[in-house]
């Protein structure tokens, strides 16, 4: 089956959902269900559009890397829709457009098409974030996002003027064969990196994150912090691995920038006492770690880290965002939340412990493996920063968990539906099972990314 259906079917449903508001929520459920089922049947390889062969036309590219991304994004999107569609009916069309944009971002093999999908998913995200009822922060997000994508387009056009192509694989091939010196590629690559860095929450381009996520309830929080973050990280990883390929002094600058991002994110998470701010600063730090792993060339562990983070963030933002909508944001008012909701409490605890990287959970496995590989490359500075950040992370997460489990005064009154509890339990079980049974994780290794082989076949 052609992967174009993952984009085309939600697009049709989005157009149809404009007509009638009554059927729109069912169309959203139909679209996400279709995508979650259809993604298991798509055929890997290059799919060109409009009958034009690879360097000319737009193409979609599917390999194991893309498949993992598609599976994570579509299944998490399905969970978001199932939980929240009842209360957010007026965002039905926007949700479908967001689904189109996210699938397109993962699938496309054309860098300009990537820009278009970046804007589509970006505009959908701006509209979704209006449900926070904080228009000033939405406006800030819109301005930052537009500047980011403009800078990405600027860099891409300079690259096009140099190499004369817009196709990802063709660009990689041309840069290799035409012997373009790296020094003349720094400017476009830096502009594209900054442009995508705005969306990927990298410091110092992430001024919008605080405004959006610190007021987010479960709906916006789980979509932007989990689904969008996973997608952008997958796209970013592919660009870093194949197009940017930082080297020399620029590698040092980027690494230091990312390390500063990790340290500052963890420090700010440590110093705040609001539940959602802890989560958002920690997700800034996690995004920097993921990009750092990609820059260092550790493909598979970065991918696992993205997936584990997306699931854990989904659980945390659903639980805390839901509780904070009805109560105040401060940790002290939320204390004792889990005494009534033991299932939710256990799921949240598992997700948090997995993010901290304690043994028995999947986060531990990932952390040990990438630290080992970095030690083999003797990147001691990075290892020290990562371990220190893990310690800080442990402290503030444990502090948060103890606040949420135990309390002296009366407990806050928050209701969780049974369906939500079941979904959270499934996700927590997922994190636990993959932490104990390690067999499935070793099925994949760094060869999940097939672009280099594909280029040799094609050109």
């Amino acid at each position: 089956m052609s992967p174009i259906f993952l984009i085309a079917i939600p697009l049709i449903l989005a157009f149809l959902s404009i007509i009638s508001h009554k059927i729109a929520p069912y169309l959203v459920i139909a679209g996400t269900l279709f995508n979650s089922i259809a993604l298991w049947f798509i055929t890997p390889g290059v799919h060109s559009i409009g009958g034009f062969e690879l360097p000319i036309g737009i193409n979609l590219y599917v390999d194991t890397y893309t498949m993992l991304g598609l599976a994570v994004v579509n299944l998490l999107f399905l969970c978001v829709v199932i939980i929240h569609i009842q209360k957010q009916k007026k965002y039905a069309s926007v949700l479908l457009v967001a689904l189109v944009g996210l699938n397109g971002l993962l699938l496309t093999g054309d860098l300009f098409n990537l820009f278009v999908f970046l804007e589509i998913s970006g505009i959908a995200a701006y509209i979704l974030s209006t449900s926070n009822q904080k228009p000033y922060h939405t406006f800030q997000y819109l301005v930052m996002g537009s500047i980011g994508s403009s800078l990405y387009l600027f860099g891409l056009i300079i690259l096009y003027a140099m190499v004369g192509s817009l196709n990802l694989m063709h660009i990689v091939h041309l840069i290799e064969t035409q012997n373009i010196p790296y020094s003349s590629l720094i400017l476009p690559f830096l502009l594209m990196f900054i442009g995508l860095g705005v969306e990927a929450k990298l410091l110092p381009f992430n001024a919008w994150v605080k405004g959006i996520l610190s007021h987010a309830h479960g709906f916006v929080g789980s979509i932007i912090a989990s689904v969008y973050a996973a997608t952008i990280s997958f796209v970013f990883g592919r660009l870093i691995l194949h197009v940017f390929q930082f080297e020399g002094r620029i590698l040092l600058v980027i690494t230091i920038l990312l390390l500063v991002g990790v340290v500052l994110g963890e420090a700010m998470a440590f110093s705040t006492s609001k539940a959602r701010e802890i989560l958002l600063y920690s997700s800034i730090a996690q995004a920097s770690i993921v990009i750092l792993l990609f820059v260092q060339g550790l493909v598979i562990w970065a991918v696992y880290l993205i997936i584990a983070n997306a699931i854990a963030k989904f659980v945390l933002f659903t639980v805390i965002g839901h509780a904070s909508k009805e109560q105040c944001d401060e940790l002290s008012t939320l204390s004792g939340l889990f005494q009534k909701h033991v299932f939710v409490g256990i799921a949240t605890t598992i997700a948090t412990l997995s993010m901290m990287g304690l043994p028995l959970f999947v986060g531990f496995l990932i952390k040990v493996n990438y630290v080992m590989i970095l030690a083999n490359q003797s990147q001691w500075l990075i290892i020290i920063v990562l371990i220190l950040s893990a310690v800080v992370e442990g402290i503030y997460y444990v502090r948060m968990l103890t606040k949420l489990w135990f309390s002296e005064q009366e407990t806050p009154n928050v209701q969780y539906a049974w369906g939500v509890q079941a979904l959270l339990a499934i996700m927590a079980a997922f994190l636990l099972i993959f932490g104990i049974i390690r067999e499935p994780l070793s099925r994949f290794d760094d060869t999940i990314d097939q672009i280099t082989e594909e280029i040799e076949v094609l050109f």
Partner: protein, 184 residues
Amino acid sequence: MKKLFGFVLVMALGIIIILSLQANPEFPAFGDVDLSDRISIRFIERDAMGDILYGITENLESGAANIVTAIVVDHGHLTPGGGFPGGTMIASSILLLYLADDQFRSKVKTFKWIEGLAGSFYVILGIIGLLVSGYFLKNILPNGVIGDLLSSGMIPIVYMLIGLKVGSEIAGVIDHFLSEEETI
């Protein structure tokens, strides 16, 4: 003072970008582009073989005729123009109707139908191409003779759908802006 500082800073950034582009041997100077190393030259090469058609200018009259929206949309494959500018012109004419007639609002509701159906037909057209020939949006109609109104395969149909879609969509946006109801 702050403004002056910001201006100097930003201009310095611009001049740095310009200088680095000038010093870059790979970056072509203005007007000095070698098209043979760009992928777009392959379009032109294939064009010579008659594979692709993307526009023909018949005579100068077509420029004057562009004022009429229908011609802009219908002749998108022959002259400059096409779905998006034409659709925007439709929306502008609706804007004028708005300014002239206060009662116009009630009729605007039907635009939602046009918008949804035109968009859906566009995707369905693409899927038909996929089912018939294996490529999404593959041209399945004959190319025709250069210069005819009914040429260039599916492009006129696609342009017409896009024109309807864009026109009704932007009319909806204008409707939201002029009415006092909540936009978001």
